[in-house]
């Protein structure tokens, strides 16, 4: 069971993030929650690609005695995680710039106050 710690971490990250998004009213905290969910999902992806006692799938100066391909971890989840991280950065930048504008218009970051206000 101790080997499943990464999956426990994934669940914890996703649930903390989801809790923050659903129950917190501050927009910045919502964004932090989304970032947490995203880290959880990324961790899940990268965890799926690990094989016991494996090395990174890079052939430059490979440790002697490595079996190819069984001794290497999966390259695809790493590539997917890379893509997903960049997408996360893009979304984060856009969300933060919208929050700056919302703050200029309403003078508050509380989601409920913003919903009730007219311009």
């Amino acid at each position: 069971m101790i080997f499943n710690i990464p999956f426990i971490a994934v669940t914890a990250l996703v649930l903390i993030g989801l809790y923050t998004v659903i129950f917190r009213r501050n927009l910045i905290k919502m964004v932090i929650g989304i970032t947490l969910i995203e880290s959880g999902v990324n961790l899940f992806l990268i965890t799926l690609g690990y094989r016991e006692n494996s090395v990174a799938p890079i052939f430059t100066s490979l440790p002697p005695g490595t079996i190819v391909p069984e001794g290497m971890s999966f390259p695809v989840p790493q590539a997917l995680t890379l893509t997903s991280i960049v997408i996360g950065v893009a979304v984060l930048a856009l969300m933060l710039s919208l929050i700056i504008h919302i703050y200029r218009h309403y003078g508050t970051l509380d989601a409920r106050e913003i919903g009730g206000k007219e311009e």
């Binding site: 994934v10 649930l15 809790y19 799926l48 690609g49 890079i58 290497m72 893009a90």
Partner: protein, 91 residues
């Protein structure tokens, strides 16, 4: 509690159950069940793409179109941020 809060709690509980079960039921850490696609990629990476780095061979060759999409996402975000902070006419 308002109706909205109850709906939020129900949604949260259902999703919690989903995530907990999927973390419990997926294969144990380090012992994947199936490795067809990745073994094929590791074996072919050097001869087909000429790279020593398996991850780069996936990122730029086998799944190169994803990387184009990823670069486009960044491009979109930059265009979006610059557009959102543009100078408006009446300012």
């Amino acid at each position: 509690m308002s109706k909205r809060d109850i709906a939020a709690v129900v949604f949260f509980v259902i999703i919690t159950v989903f995530f907990v079960f999927s973390a419990l039921m997926i294969h144990p850490f380090g012992v994947p069940e199936n490795a067809d696609m990745d073994d094929e990629i590791i074996k072919g990476a050097q001869s087909e793409t000429g790279t020593n780095n398996g991850v780069t061979s996936v990122v730029f060759d086998y799944r190169g179109f994803d990387t184009l999409g990823e670069a486009t996402v960044l491009f979109t975000a930059v265009a979006g941020v610059i557009m959102v902070f543009r100078r408006l006419k009446n300012e």
